[in-house]
Symmetry: C2
Subunit: 333 residues, 2 copies
């Protein structure tokens, strides 16, 4: 009996994508998103949505998702925040499975944004439609040649074992470009969750746990809504796949910054630290360490013991590495 | 009354250089050293020393320093360790001021090497001749267009405010190439001291304290011979110029590695740490931090207080930077 399709499967492997806010202006996000799908060789259907255009990049345009003839697995939304709630309502009416809201100006932007975020959530209440974001570059799945990012993707995206579950656009943005051009590991999935008004890291972590392409999971978290669930799932997924976590908002100043970035409310850092130790998540200190740890797990199996050798073209490199090994609890063979 | 010339002045501003081990083979260190001086535009006299050649790179060759007609401020020695002591003796006889011994195979290599190191020291005993090294790439002074390194220097070396006093060849080697091609600060002086059988970091630190070109001092140390003197000089020099120190050999394994790198005997790390705090030296954790701190001091004046703002193209960057500021005792304005 074939395994039932995971509820998030079509977010990463959509058969059809609508781009709400598609544009003929090559500098607009809604243009780049269409161009990225074409350049990456996405094989599903692409529906640009724009009431003032007949055709964008050679694709037929529709005035709204309601006019699209077929089903829509993912709708990407890039229009200004105040216009988002009615459009999300149309998506729910159409039965769109996932609405990836790229637009910012929601909870992170103050009371009016918070009201808009609530209105957007209300629009999908009681429906099957899920919201990703808002305030995120969203999804990347090189295997499906699919992305929602508005960063121009020039070449093919290297596939590999590392998946990212993150609360910032960086990972499907500038940092992705760095990883693709300067790092030696490939990417399985990226899920940028932004404000996490609906879809959260627990669900995505659970999905990646059963995703055969994912061997290593790297997370960047500003706020956790359901810590107990996160621990339960991390404990289970972590048995098979290393989970590296960078948690920000560790201090009062960071907490204030997180509030204006993704509107996240941040818990006490000691508590998160203890939770990581209990459920086996590996904590990274900064972005570099997050990437380095993910890379290490991607490129070599965990050693069987604490003993190792050190090689360097420089004597000073050997001395410093020997020090660091000892300080990290390793032994020189 | 003009200030008396510092005893180390001619090590960094030599009027004449002999290269003992100069070679016509472009892959040999003794060839590259001559080529570097020519390419950098060194304006003093260059004397290649090689008993089996008449001319190297268009320069007249001498069979030994004793045959050189003029005075020699610096002799660079790259010949195999067993041949070094008699050559150093000739240098002392000739009155060479500084012998920079690039060759390795001395104290760091075991008992026989230690014997050679002692023999070399004995050769200069009671003379004015000082030994730099052995086991180092030695000196770089872009202002004088002078270097003893065997790493090919391709272009001009950017001058700037940072001086390095180090116990590894890296700083006049691979790391130098990185600094020159990828970093935004320039270099005042580099003194690679290697095994420090004679010239040590205390004397160089004292020299750099009065060197007008040097505004920031970065040190890499494996072993300290005279801690009390180092503290005394650092306290004084540090009043005017920030001193950043990376000290390795912090652990037992690192100590063993240091013994085989520069033959240094390493003291207890807590003691060094306390000494740094007492005399105001700023301790770096690794090479990156050493370079980063030196760069920070080179490129902006110390702030007047702990308050600062954070700017980043990425929200996550602001959150992480806010956290780090707080953890480092800074305040967001």
């Amino acid at each position: 009996m074939p395994r039932a399709e995971h509820p998030l499967h079509r977010l990463f492997y959509p058969r059809s994508v609508a781009i709400i806010g598609a544009s003929r202006n090559p500098r607009k996000f809604g243009h780049i998103q269409v161009a990225n799908l074409l350049r990456m060789g996405y094989e599903g259907r692409i529906y640009p949505i724009n009431p003032r255009a007949d055709e964008i990049s050679g694709l037929r345009c529709y005035p709204s998702v309601l006019e699209v003839p077929g089903e829509i697995d993912v709708a990407i939304v890039t229009i200004p925040a105040p216009k988002v709630p009615p459009v999300v309502e149309e998506c729910a009416e159409k039965g769109v499975r996932f609405v990836v809201v790229i637009s910012s100006g929601f909870r992170e932007a103050g009371p009016e944004g918070e009201r808009l975020q609530e209105a957007m959530l209300k629009a999908v209440e009681g429906t099957e439609t899920r919201i990703v974001g808002p305030n995120t570059t969203g999804i990347l799945n090189p295997e499906a040649r699919f992305t929602t990012t508005f960063m121009p993707i020039e070449g093919p995206v290297r596939e590999g074992p590392v998946s990212f579950v993150v609360q910032t656009g960086l990972f499907a943005g500038i940092l992705l470009i760095h990883i693709l051009t300067a790092e030696h590991f490939g990417i399985a999935k990226v899920a940028g969750l932004g404000n996490k008004c609906d879809l959260d890291e627990v669900e995505v972590l659970e999905y990646l746990g059963q995703d055969e392409r994912t061997r290593v999971i790297a997370m960047y978290i500003e706020g956790v809504k359901n810590g107990r669930e996160l621990m339960r799932v991390a404990k289970e997924v972590g048995l098979d796949k290393p989970i590296v976590v960078l948690k920000s908002g560790r201090t009062e100043a960071g907490t204030r910054a997180a509030l204006s970035h993704t509107g996240s409310v941040v818990g006490r850092d000691e508590v998160f630290d203890a939770a990581c130790r209990q459920c086996g998540m590996i904590r990274a200190r900064d972005f570099e360490e997050l990437i380095d740890l993910a890379k290490a797990f991607a490129m070599q199996p965990p050693p069987r013991g604490p003993r190792l050798g050190v090689a360097s073209y420089s004597g000073a490199g050997c001395v410093l590495a020997s020090d660091e090994c000892t300080l990290q609890g390793l032994e020189l063979a």
